[in-house]
């Protein structure tokens, strides 16, 4: 134990030290090699300075570009290529045809669509509602902190928490799962929720809504703070009630933030993996694309079909990516 701890600390220091050393070393080296201090001629001097300073940006940005290329850009194209191959042989769109005719894939697509609809919708609505209701509440901070807290919990940890809530015991025994205890107290029969189709999909989604509502709440809370006081005053004067205020004043003013929250959660949900793996591992028709890909890639060892599934996730993200890049270019002018 102690030995590993020392090893770990040593590795941490080494990793951080080496990367720091690279930046310091390369910059000093550049200053030394292309120094202009010994040059007497002003022209030669400024020319040397220009060369040096045109190299320096690449030292600054080089490692980032290299890593981005190696870990994201090149792999994306390589995955596209792999999706057209099967065990080292080019097979054209055969993997895609296989996917369309595969029951597991169809279920995954259906479930991903459900996830895409349910999780961003409910997270945003709950987040907006809580942000709006707590806006002027005296115990605002404590309420918001508690609802925000699940953001810190890993998806696997959250899965343990919720599997415990969905736990099932036979009808004769005391239920130790909260959900079944409530159902029994209300006179119902206990259920094995996780295996109960098609409800189980929604029970998995509830976990994600539980985590993401805090995110939506914080972003929308900040946006609601930014709604000009005078518009609210004016609406108050006109005798608008809380509900009218929410729909007529607040929502239109924070619409931009709602869209951002929505897309952010959408991108996250497209890649949903941990919750499904930990809760059901795709059994009882709860499979999703990311978990299907993991299955194909590791259990079946089929990189071609695995890549094909990944490409579908990528295709779903493309519109959002295009939109983001367009917005960014606009902002940069």
């Amino acid at each position: 134990m102690l030995q590993q701890l020392i090893l770990a600390l040593w590795a941490i220091v080494l990793a951080i030290g080496l990367s720091a050393l690279f930046f310091i070393g390369s910059n000093l080296l550049l200053d030394r090699v292309l120094t202009s201090d010994h040059l007497r001629d002003d022209d030669a001097r400024s020319q040397r300075d220009d060369i040096r300073e045109s190299i320096r940006p690449w030292i600054f940005i080089g490692p980032a570009l290299l890593l981005l290329a190696l870990y994201l850009v090149v792999p994306v194209f390589y995955t596209l290529w792999l999706s057209l191959n099967s065990r080292g042989e080019f097979v054209g769109f055969a993997n895609y045809l296989w996917a369309f005719n595969n029951r597991g894939f169809q279920i995954s697509v259906r479930n991903n669509l459900l996830w895409l609809f349910v999780v961003p919708t409910f997270s945003t609505i709950f987040g907006l509602l809580i942000a709006y209701l707590t806006d002027r509440m005296w115990w605002r901070n404590i309420a918001r902190s508690l609802i925000f807290l699940p953001m810190a919990i890993s998806f696997v940890g959250a899965s343990v928490i919720w599997r415990f809530i969905y736990d099932y015991r036979g009808p004769g025994d005391d239920q130790i799962g909260l959900l079944n205890a409530v159902v029994v107290a209300l006179g119902g029969d206990p259920q094995a929720w996780i295996a109960l189709q098609p409800l189980n999909n929604f029970l998995l989604m509830a976990i994600m809504v539980w985590i993401q509502t805090g995110f939506a709440m914080v972003l929308l809370g900040a946006a609601i703070r930014g709604v000009p006081e005078d518009t609210i005053e004016a609406a108050n004067m006109d005798g608008a009630n809380e509900i009218q205020m929410l729909f007529k004043i607040v929502i239109p003013q924070v619409w931009g933030t709602i869209v951002v929250v929505w897309t952010t959660i959408t991108v996250l949900v497209l890649k949903i993996f941990d919750v499904v793996l930990a809760m059901t591992n795709g059994q009882w028709q709860t499979q999703v694309l990311a978990n299907l890909m993991f299955d194909i890639m590791f259990r079946a060892g089929d990189f071609g079909r695995g890549s094909t599934v990944a490409v579908f996730i990528m295709l779903a993200v493309l519109p959002i990516m295009w939109w983001n890049v367009r917005q960014a270019r606009k902002e940069m002018g």
Partner: protein, 387 residues
């Protein structure tokens, strides 16, 4: 500004709705926490919300044989105790068979067909009296409902930390997380500075590319990067004694995957720093490196902290990258992977799962609660990315 509010029905409803949300959002975690310190035997028979109430359990006890009898005023008696000493248990009711558990109250007497009499007190002591000497070699069975006082223990934690590998996984998680948080910060800070304050070919293109890369799903990178690692491991690095699945591999992977957000966040922050400071430093002949180290980096600490918390939570809570690039077993399993392993192998041992889950959560919760301000700031600045 907090305004004094009048009490109205509408206001009460508002508070009630928020309260409902807060309770619903807090209960799941509370249940986990309470369960993790409960006695394992109680945990499986009663809900955690009854943790403070004694649990009732149906039990049976075999009395002593005739050897234990004593003669007293011409009567024969056998004394015994249902419970171990100091267990704090008590008898709620008892009976003559497993189906008639509530036949007698504590202190009641059962007249047997052979004329002997059995009395059980609520503290679990029983007396069996008879006019004839006892001759049985095997005692008879007594059936009762026992009330077991609530018991809290840290034994679950001891067990998961040692026997279930969570302790080891904790150190592994630290080993993965710290470098995977600091390396991208360093690399991204330099890149962000270049993108905000240096002029070079392709700057706008790189910026747009980074915004695009923000949402690229991890899944697109897994197979190529893993194949490359495997290939490297098989061909030339193996001669150096390295494996394809190593800490170095996962640090770099996390760095690569975290860079778009890091550069994006830091660049957005740095570009907003006052231009005049930068320009006057340039006038004084300071190089970009010097400006970066002595001016920009110290000024950017809030943004650096925001990203650090993001990346820390992301890496600590990550499962996918860890199981792909580090694998399971071989003493390199991180917390999330170990917890998932337990979920598979110990699916019904809730004392292990709840304690294990809480240990995986404790570090992110502490970081999160103590640095929520920075986290929120970062979130507001970088919400284009999908995590």
């Amino acid at each position: 500004m907090i305004k004094a509010q009048k009490f109205t029905v509408g206001n009460a409803i508002k508070h009630l709705i928020v309260l409902t949300f807060v309770v619903l959002w807090t209960l799941p975690t509370a249940g986990l926490l309470v369960s993790s310190v409960r006695d394992a035997d109680q945990l499986i028979v009663s809900g955690w919300w009854t943790a403070l109430v004694p649990t009732e359990r149906n039990e049976a006890h075999r009395t002593q044989s005739a050897d234990a009898q004593v003669e007293e005023n011409g009567m024969f008696r056998i004394d015994g105790q249902l419970f171990r000493e100091g267990s704090g248990r008590s008898v709620v009711a008892w009976g003559t068979g497993p189906r008639t558990l509530e036949e007698y109250e504590p202190g009641g007497t059962w007249e047997r067909d052979d004329g002997s009499r059995i009395t059980i007190e609520s503290d679990g002591s029983y007396t069996w009296l008879s006019d004839e000497p006892f001759e049985h070699t095997r005692g008879i069975r007594l059936f009762y409902i026992a009330a077991i006082p609530p018991r809290f223990t840290l034994a679950n934690y001891e067990r998961v930390l040692e026997a279930e590998g969570i302790g080891r996984a904790f150190i592994n998680s630290v080993t993965v997380t710290l470098p995977a948080t600091f390396i991208p910060i360093l690399i991204a800070a330099f890149a962000a500075y270049a993108l905000s304050w240096m002029t070079f070919w392709g700057r706008t293109f790189f910026l747009a590319a980074i915004v695009g890369l923000l949402v690229v799903p991890l899944q697109m990178a897994l197979i190529p990067v893993l194949s490359t690692y495997n290939w490297l491991g098989q061909t030339w690095i193996s001669s150096l004694g390295w494996e394809p699945r190593s800490y170095l591999g996962i640090w770099l992977a996390h760095t690569g995957f975290g860079l778009p957000l890091a550069v994006y966040l830091l660049r957005n922050y740095m570009v907003g720093l006052p231009k005049e400071i930068m320009e006057s430093a340039r006038m004084d002949g300071a190089t970009h490196f010097k400006i970066f180290i002595s001016i920009v980096l110290p000024l950017s600490i809030p943004a650096l902290a925001s990203f650090a918390i993001f990346q820390f939570l992301w890496v600590w809570n990550d499962l996918l990258v860890a199981i792909v690039f580090l694998g399971q077993g071989e003493g390199r399993t991180v917390l999330t992977a170990q917890l998932r392993e337990l979920l598979g192998s110990r699916g019904d041992n809730w004392e292990i799962l709840t304690a294990g889950a809480f240990i995986t959560m404790i570090v992110p919760l502490v970081v999160f609660i103590s640095m929520q301000r920075y986290f929120v700031r970062g979130m507001l600045a970088g919400s284009v990315k999908g995590g």
